[in-house]
């Protein structure tokens, strides 16, 4: 995968709070619009950001220690939107979670646990790495 430290990445770093979620979303949407991304893809991008960022906001920094999120974004080639999400919270690999059993009847379904599943299904590629005490999640959309 392309390295986000190369100059063509745009970055936004804000504290991991709910009120910053729409600012992160708007940031990526703005970038994505440069390559005339369709409204349907933009909605998927928005959804994937809501799920992944909210998870970091809710679970990554449990000890009331206010952490931050770094979100990188680039347009590596025609029709590709590349998003990198970095946090220094507790180690968590979302791709290691088994998919929920979406075939169960209602009474057996737990409320919740669908966020990561939606991310994996909506994005075209998702990769995780733990590096320098940080969670690095790379998400690629074909636009």
């Amino acid at each position: 995968m392309r390295q986000p430290d190369s100059g063509d990445f745009s970055w936004l770093q804000l504290s991991a709070t709910r009120e910053n979620l729409p600012i992160f979303q708007e940031f990526v949407i703005n970038e994505a619009k440069r390559i005339k991304t369709s409204a349907e893809i933009l909605q998927k991008v928005e959804l994937v950001l809501e799920e992944t960022l909210l998870n970091i906001i809710c679970y990554a920094y449990p000890h009331n220690h206010e952490g931050s999120i770094q979100l990188g974004c680039c347009l590596p080639g025609p029709g590709e939107l590349y998003i990198r999400i970095v946090d220094s919270g507790i180690a968590f690999d979302p791709l290691s979670r088994p998919d929920p059993d979406v075939g169960q009847p209602m009474q057996d379904r737990e409320v919740g646990g669908l966020g990561i599943h939606l991310v994996r299904r909506m994005a075209d590629r998702v990769e995780y790495q733990r590096k320098d005490e940080m969670n690095i999640l790379d998400i690629v959309f074909r636009t």
Partner: protein, 109 residues
């Protein structure tokens, strides 16, 4: 997000519009439960809903379970675009009864 309801002979119709996301899901859940009260047959019309995230699904499932445990049934109609996709990916399209139009939903209710 906005919610309104309409009492028909066969069912209570709940009409939702806007976004069902982390900022609105709680409100959706409590408003729905208020509107439902003791009604048994509920049709939720999602025609004007353009976005639903897992927070929205969470609230929908909570409402569904509540209605079911009271012996009623919750059915959906008019799922559009990403709302339909999210229902499919999450299996909600199979745990709930889904209809193309409000008329079809009312007939089945």
């Amino acid at each position: 997000m906005e919610i309104s309801s309409q009492k028909m002979d066969k069912a209570l119709i709940i009409i939702v519009s806007g976004r069902l996301d982390t900022t609105t899901a709680q409100d959706f859940e409590s408003t729905c439960l208020d509107l439902i009260g003791n009604e048994k047959n509920i049709v939720v019309d999602l025609q004007e809903v353009e976005y639903v995230s897992s927070a929205g699904l969470r609230s929908i499932l909570s409402v569904g379970k509540k209605v079911r445990s009271d012996g009623g049934s919750l059915i959906f109609c008019n799922l559009k675009g990403m709302v339909r996709e999210v229902f499919e990916i999450s299996g909600f399209a199979s745990i709930f009864n889904i209809y193309e139009t409000r008329e079809q939903a009312l007939e089945a209710a």
